[in-house]
Amino acid sequence: MWDYTDKVREHFLNPKNVGEVENPDGIGEVGSIACGDALKLTFRLGEDKTITEAKFKTFGCASAIASSSALTEMIIGKTLEEAEKISNENIAEFLGGLPKEKIHCSVMGQEALEKAIAYYRGEPEKVLEGEIICHCFNVTDVDIQRAVKEKGLKTLEDVTGYLKAGGGCGNCHEEISNIIKASQGISIMEPKKPAAGLTNLQKIRKIEETLEVEIKPALIRDGGNIELVDVDGNRVLVRLQGACATCPRSRITLKDHVEARLRNLVAHDLVVEEA
């Protein structure tokens, strides 16, 4: 049996706001019966544009029902601008935590809320981005990359707990693990021994090759890229591009990923700097 908090149990056994709001302003439906959980969230706004009524209908486990109940409690009384700031972590915190295998239940709550707000605003439905990796739960590579990056997921189990991806037949486990590794800047190729005694030309070629094969693919997956500008002795001058150029963590990318990989695969004394 899962180790649920008292608050999860309370919201599961005595859920608040079960049902559907009549003439709702917002409707958000996520999940499916095939996936094992689904949530329909409806809300109505008052004259002051705060959410005055919110109800849910959930098909799913205890934590799915508790997360839905918690979500309705959290959004009532809030403006849409306030409500849309509610993350899945907030839902989990409200419940005193969820087992990591059940985090996807709170993610479902956050997604239903996003959809309901988008419905109210008349925004178009998001289309599925990327290639489907987990066919059991319809999860794409873009979803996995985003979750890994934004939520700091480190293992296959983390991804399954968060997105359900990999929780079915298991055929996608290797692909998910590769996405995690690539997002962490870890090459999925066998590491090569650092080359010793390279001439300048050999060193430059090796740096170019390593950037192309080992480093660029991971950055491109995250919407960024990198360009080699010059090699001056042991200094490697590069230019970050796309999302990497504007990312506040670009220095970490440069040092912990690019420099570390080049040191490991080309020469241990290389220093990577932005041109």
């Binding site: 049996m1 899962w2 599961f12 056994l13 859920p15 079960v18 439906e29 019966i33 095939a34 094992g36 959980d37 689904a38 949530l39 329909k40 209908k57 959930t58 098909f59 799913g60 486990c61 205890a62 799915a64 029902i65 295998e101 059991c136 739960f137 399954t160 359900k164 929780g167 079915g168 037949c169």
Partner: protein, 387 residues
């Protein structure tokens, strides 16, 4: 609150008689059965009695055909690996789509190691496709491993017919009979079964002890090597008290099998009938004509199993959703999927598995408490509509 324990296919209560039989082997009779003195010898003698008791329950020709192991999973692994060593040139293995993870995972691993695996499907009632099995047997087949009774639905496979097909082709037949042993009569003397696995904790013996039946003449190479225990077929100091407990449990199972097949079956049938009549949109899974007497798998459409289990737990009712071994999975059980149970129902499947310790009053509790739970969860479900 006294629990209403209806999860006996996961594990059973250790019988009082079994505990009583085991206790001296923790205290005054603690000798090592391999020792060459009287103190150890009397323990060895008692293990031999247990071996005879297990053989008797199975209807085996000789107690020498019984090898004690640590559990059903080890018995399965030992049986399959023995076949692979006996026929090293054969690279084809056959199993079914509804096996317990002990066999399913083992065969998946062997597939990765290069073995060709044929997995025979079942129909919507969980019945094996015998035509396909017959067509799949070939000269390259090392072993056919099929469960006797399904742990989730209780459906019985026609092991006699399967064994006959295998014997005609000179192929070893192993059956994982963990759920069947002690619940239905067996006479291995006359049945074409070469290897059979059983587990103690499914029949009121402790956890951590099992046995493998190896028909006399079946080639067998030890899976665990070391000392000369178990006639050189499994090294390692015997789990003495548990083995003695298993023997006593087998004796008890022989005595109680009639009760299992009459009183327990009647209780199960009443529970099933009452739930089906009180709850709309639910159905029983499995082969109703060939099923274990204690098992009932019911799918409640449009709701989810864990939620049902936790609400039942409020009243002390303990059951299982699908298989206890796969309860951490996000997918409905592979057994239900293999049977084609629709998603609308597969997620909401509950397994009730009874034992001789259950009572009619306990069935009344479930019959009273479950219908409102199902209604409550359905009222919360976006897929449920009364109409």
């Amino acid at each position: 609150m006294t629990p209403v324990y209806l999860d006996n296919n996961a594990t059973t209560r250790v019988a009082d008689e079994v505990i009583e039989a085991m206790l001296p082997y923790f205290t005054e009779l603690y000798g090592n059965p391999s020792s060459m003195h009287t103190f150890g010898g009397q323990v060895a003698q008692k293990i031999q009695t247990a071996r005879q008791q297990v053989a008797s329950l199975l209807g085996a020709a000789s107690s020498d055909e019984i090898l004690f192991t640590s559990c059903g999973t080890e018995s399965d692994a030992a049986a399959v690996h023995a076949a692979l060593r006996a026929f090293p040139e054969r690279k084809h293995l056959i199993t079914s789509t509804v096996e317990h993870p002990a066999i399913k995972a083992l065969f998946e691993k062997l597939a990765k190691e290069g073995f060709r695996i044929t997995t025979i499907p079942v129909d919507t009632r969980g019945r094996l496709n015998m035509d396909l099995l017959e067509k799949s047997l070939d000269e390259d087949t090392a072993i056919v491993s099929m469960m006797w009774a399904n742990n989730e639905t209780g459906t019985l496979f026609p092991v006699e017919a399967i064994g006959k097909l295998c014997r005609e082709k000179g192929i070893l037949f192993h059956t994982d009979a963990v759920q069947a042993v002690g619940k239905i009569p067996m006479d291995l003397k006359t049945m074409p079964i070469d290897l059979l696995s059983l587990s103690g904790h499914k029949l009121h013996a402790p956890k951590g002890v099992g046995a493998l039946y190896i028909r006399k003449g079946t080639p067998f190479t030890p899976y665990i090597v070391g000392g000369h225990q178990e006639h050189g077929r499994r090294a390692g100091t015997e789990n003495v008290a548990s083995i003695i407990g298993l023997g006593r449990a087998c004796l008890m199972a022989e005595e109680k099998m009639a009760e299992e097949n009459t009183r327990v079956r009647a209780m199960r049938d009443r529970l099933e009938k009452e739930l089906l009549s009180r709850i709309p949109k639910c159905f029983v899974n499995g082969d109703l004509d060939a099923r274990l007497p204690n098992t009932c798998s019911i799918s409640f459409e449009y709701i989810e199993g864990e939620a049902i289990l936790l609400m039942m737990n409020q009243y002390g009712i303990c059951a299982s959703s699908g298989s206890a071994c796969t309860s951490g999975s996000l997918e409905p059980s592979h057994v239900l999927r293999a049977m084609g149970v629709p998603h609308t129902a597969a997620h909401g499947t509950i397994r009730f598995s009874l034992s001789i310790y259950n009572t009619e009053a306990e069935m009344d509790t479930v019959i009273e408490k479950l219908p409102p739970i199902v209604k409550r969860l359905r009222d919360m479900s976006p897929f449920w509509s009364d109409s």
